[in-house]
């Protein structure tokens, strides 16, 4: 039964003072204290450890994701440091070949599956409801479940590595090397199952974000008024939904070959090794854009705020995001140019791979045009954006180089490609990510990060990264292949390897400075107001950090930059219940209020379901019966989860 709530312009909020002041400013509208208190109580979590386990608050879960993903980033980075130390000398004996192979497998797998996608999702999970004016995500308990499943997958891989049963087949795990004949034991199964864990989590988050963006935007936030970050999240989520099933299929068929005796990848019995590569890369290429697109969203938001004007060419930017999302699915064969596929088909993928440079190039123009025509304020987040442009474009251009089939036949599987993808992934995703941390830290925690330490962090990282990875272009052109645990002396590769190792050390120092910045700012950082940067988007209307219910009242939007266009009066809408958890559902395109929906209360069932899922997935590594017996706890968990909520008797629906 739909009951469209009353739409009023409530009392005007206290006018926000310009961002020059550091004293906290009350931005939320002043409302009756009693109603506010009831709202607090309705949306509060249980205290202590139980509350931590049962929370469905997207901000708490996002913080968890952020911390966890960052810790794994550090661990994978340590693996990379170990690799660089091994490679600093020819015929070095620091690491055995088995150990080195395990290290580069876990470095790649962690960075791609456990750090890059989840941390982008973490930032979006925190910000999207705030940015679109909603109280919660569309599926809060699914969000909680996704975190626990993600954590289980990450732990499976790393505990395996620590116990010396970790995979050593590369993060891509080509067959037949990863198949039953050449990969003994369960190392490869641990890898394949880690994929299942992390992809369930990623799919859950993608579905959540899509539903939130499409159906829970604040009234008046039509699609054309939606911020660019929400657009990039929407496209990323769609891409996730289409791409991740391919890798789940690839890894599940691999497990089936290894554990059940099927022959999907066995050429001798009618299978095909190329099938694995197609399935993997059909996911693998969109995956890097899934990592990259949220970064573009960060860049757009930061550029607008610090150029003091909206991003130039909004429509063009949206179209570029959408076209990147589509084109990304038509490129995957460029990872397989050397496999002997028909050459005319290869040329088609050259064209497609180069074509995707067009929307990216257009976006770069728009950001530069924004800075050019704006009044840039060179705080740390904008520095990261500038660093992003300088670095990512190198990666993009080296990508255009390897997109060409003949050139790729020389550069494929050399350090040139290693340089290329680190330039696009670190330049295109990690630079914006650090900018996003600096930018949104006040919103997450209520305190500002230190500008001085931030600038040190930026410059050390920028210099260290380039010192580490630029020589790899040259190493590739000098013939050094990838995934080698050592190399012969006399090839002339020593000097550049040493330089790269030195760069790695500088990056470590830079990341340490970031950690110091975060830890000290958490305790002694300058308290931030609601909108310390005077940014235009809606998340800055909430308090810093936001209350559990995000906004006391739903804002009503009439422009793309609500906090700039509607500085004096931000209209609100009343009518959502404060006695129980309720969210507003609006129409997908025009965001007209549609109905009120009750939002799930905190619950232990997502955690229980995650435990049951973990038992099933780890059990299947060892026995197929785990699927059968594991269905029992799974059924119990999901039944508890979906048990219908009885309407509270006597709850008064108080209109505000």
């Amino acid at each position: 039964m739909t009951r469209p709530p009353k739409k009023t312009t409530g009392p005007a909020p206290s006018p926000r003072r310009p961002k020059k002041e550091a004293t906290p400013v009350v931005a939320a509208p002043v409302i009756a204290a009693a109603a506010d208190a009831q709202l607090e109580e309705t949306w509060a979590d249980a205290p202590g450890f139980w509350g931590w386990l049962t929370t469905v608050d997207h901000k708490r879960i996002a913080r968890r994701y952020l911390v966890t993903a960052f810790i794994f980033f550090l661990l994978a980075g340590l693996a990379a440091v170990a690799m660089r130390l091994q490679l600093s000398k020819p015929e070095n004996t620091l690491l055995s070949p088995a150990r080195y192979n395990e290290l580069f497998t876990i470095h790649g797998s962690t960075m791609m599956f456990i750090f890059a996608v989840p941390i982008m999702e973490a930032v979006t999970v925190f910000l999207i409801p705030l940015m679109v004016g909603a109280r919660a995500l569309a599926f809060p308990r699914l969000n909680a479940y996704s975190y626990w499943v993600y954590l289980a997958g990450a732990l499976t891989l790393w505990i395996g590595f620590i116990l010396n049963v970790g995979p050593d087949i590369g993060w891509f795990a080509y067959t037949p090397l990863s198949g039953p004949e050449y990969s003994a034991g369960h190392r490869a199964d641990i890898w394949a199952q880690m994929i299942t864990f992390t992809e369930i989590a990623a799919l859950a988050v993608a579905v959540n974000l899509m539903a939130t963006i499409l159906k829970m935007r604040a009234p008046g936030m039509t699609l054309s008024r939606m911020p660019l970050f929400a657009w990039s999240t929407l496209v990323t989520s769609l891409m996730t939904i289409f791409a991740l099933p391919a890798v789940m299929l690839a890894s599940s068929l691999l497990m089936s070959d290894r554990l059940l005796g099927t022959h999907f990848y066995n050429a001798a019995e009618g299978g095909d090794h190329i099938l694995y590569q197609h399935l993997f890369w059909f996911f693998g290429h969109p995956e890097v854009y899934i990592i990259f697109l949220p970064g573009l969203g960060f860049v757009s938001m930061i550029t607008a705020t610090f150029s003091r004007r909206p991003v130039f060419g909004h429509i063009v930017m949206v179209l570029a995001l959408i076209s990147i999302g589509f084109l990304a699915f038509g490129l995957w064969v460029h990872h397989m140019f050397a496999t002997g596929l028909p050459r005319l088909g290869n040329s088609f993928y050259t064209a497609a791979s180069m074509a995707i440079a067009l929307p990216s190039g257009v976006q770069i123009f728009c950001w530069i045009a924004t800075i050019w025509s704006g009044r840039p304020v060179f705080k740390t987040p904008l520095l990261w954006v500038i660093g992003f442009i300088v670095t990512f474009v190198i990666g993009g251009l080296s990508g255009v180089m390897v997109a060409s089939v003949p050139l790729d036949l020389q550069l494929h599987d050399t350090y040139f490609v290693v340089a290329h993808f680190h330039y696009v992934l670190i330049g295109g995703a990690v630079f914006p990510l650090f900018g996003a941390f600096q930018y949104w830290f006040p919103k997450f925690t209520g305190r500002m990060l230190s500008e001085t330490l931030g600038k040190w962090h930026f410059w050390l990282f920028f210099i260290g990264f380039n010192v580490a990875f630029f020589p790899m272009h040259i190493l590739g052109l000098m013939g050094m292949p990838r995934r080698v645990y050592t190399y012969p002396s006399g090839m002339g590769w020593e000097r550049y390897n040493q330089i790269a190792t030195l760069g790695g050390v500088i990056v470590v120092v830079s990341v340490l400075s970031f950690i110091v910045n975060v830890l000290t700012s958490l305790r002694r950082g300058v308290p931030a107001g609601d909108n310390p940067w005077d940014a235009p988007s809606l998340e800055w209307a909430a308090t810093s950090p936001p209350a559990p219910y995000n906004f006391a009242h739903t804002p009503v939007i009439s422009s793309r930059e609500p906090l700039w266009e509607q500085r004096e009066v931000l209209p609100i809408m009343t009518g959502l219940s404060t006695a129980e958890r309720e969210v507003l559902v609006t129409t997908p395109v025009d965001a007209e209020p549609d109905n009120r929906q009750s939002s799930p209360d905190p619950s232990i069932w997502p955690f229980v379901a995650a435990i049951a899922t973990t038992m099933v997935l780890i059990g299947t590594i060892f026995s197929e019966w785990a699927l059968v017996w594991g269905a029992v706890p799974l059924t119990i968990a999901f039944s508890g989860w979906f048990w219908p909520k009885r309407p509270r008797r006597g709850a008064k629906q108080e209109p505000q």
Binding site: A98, Y174, A338, A369, V377, V405, L407, Q410, I474
Partner: protein, 333 residues
């Protein structure tokens, strides 16, 4: 812009980019063709990068000293819009140029030089290469391992197969790479021009000793190639000393003959490299170790120590047997 580009190329060359395993020092037609692609790419990409950095610098430097005012609404700026259109057109033009050039270079690589091609089959194993010359009448076919000789000026058509996992054959000075995939037959054409010894290395991760799976490719004059080929067709040299004879006997009766083949000895194993002319090769263990008698002795006594994970086991031999085998194998020129 061209000067900057050629300056860059010169800089790269200064880094010692002439070498035995580099695509920047082409010694064959295919590599030369790809090298032109590289040069075009470098010039075009540097041009676009310069534009981007120039634009960024201008944007950053332009309004630095003006005070920070209230944010402005987005105004309609036809100048920037025109520039965007020009930029888009430039990118389209650049991409069209690169795509077409790439297409035509790729086409030239794919052209079959069938008539006089030298037919070779290379089979990849963990972690060595079986090389079979299957050219001409069948009684002119022979097999060797971990080395290739090619006559300059004649196209070699190399059929690529795999005996276990995916490998990749890559001789950067001569041509691009091509994978060896079990269950598939791939073909790579190489037309070497310049005489010399080049290094080829496996370029697809194939397990523990992927780093030590390379092979030297000797490009020589057609006459020298004929001599080498005739020599390869001969059976192994008979032992000339008592120690060598004893070594041959040890080879045939112990574990060696189980896996290795020597034409002319009673050893017909197919699962390990053919050793008929072992001592004439420049290196051992797929170019992991330069060849010398001492290296050979070390390899036989402890292959796991020198190349951990290799399929060759540590065969227990007495010191007399070991030195005899080394003496025999060292005589197999």
């Amino acid at each position: 812009m061209k000067q900057a580009a050629s300056g860059l190329i010169a800089l790269l060359l200064l880094c010692g980019c002439s070498g035995v395993q580099t695509p920047l020092d082409p010694a064959g037609d295919q590599a030369a063709s790809i090298h032109t692609m590289w040069n075009v790419m470098l010039v075009v990409c540097s041009f676009f990068y310069a534009l981007v950095i120039g634009g960024l610098l201008w944007a950053v430097v332009r309004r630095r000293r003006e005070p920070v005012p209230e944010p402005q609404a987005s105004a309609h700026d036809p100048g920037i819009e025109r520039t965007l259109a020009v930029w888009t057109g430039l990118i389209l033009a650049g991409l069209t140029l690169l795509i077409s050039w790439s297409f035509f270079v790729d086409r030239s690589l794919a052209q079959t030089h069938d008539d006089q091609a030298l037919h070779i089959t290379v089979t990849g194993y963990q972690w060595w290469w079986r090389v079979e010359y299957q050219d001409g009448p069948v009684n002119q076919w022979f097999e060797t391992a971990n080395e290739i000789h090619l006559p300059a000026g004649r196209t070699a058509r190399i059929k690529l197969e795999s005996g276990d996992v995916i490998h990749s054959f890559w001789a950067p000075n001569l041509a691009g790479k091509m994978d060896l995939i079990p269950g598939r037959h791939n073909v790579l054409d190489i037309t070497p021009r310049r005489i010399g010894v080049y290094r080829s290395q496996c370029a697809e991760f194939c397990g523990m000793q992927h780093a030590h799976m390379a092979l030297p490719i000797t490009v020589e004059s057609p006459e020298a190639f004929k001599v080498w080929r005739a020599h390869q067709l001969q059976a192994a040299k008979a032992p000339t000393s008592q120690q060598e004879a004893f070594g041959k006997a040890v080879f045939e009766t112990k574990a060696c003959a189980f896996c290795h083949k020597i034409d002319g000895a009673d050893a017909g194993g197919r699962t390990a490299p053919n050793l008929t002319h072992l001592a004439s090769r420049p290196s051992l263990a797929a170019d992991a170790i330069p060849y010398s008698r001492g290296a050979l002795a070390g390899w036989i006594s402890d292959p796991q120590g020198m190349k951990p994970g290799t399929k060759m086991p540590n065969v227990p031999l007495t010191s007399a047997e070991s030195s005899a085998v080394v003496a025999y194998l060292d005589s197999l020129k």
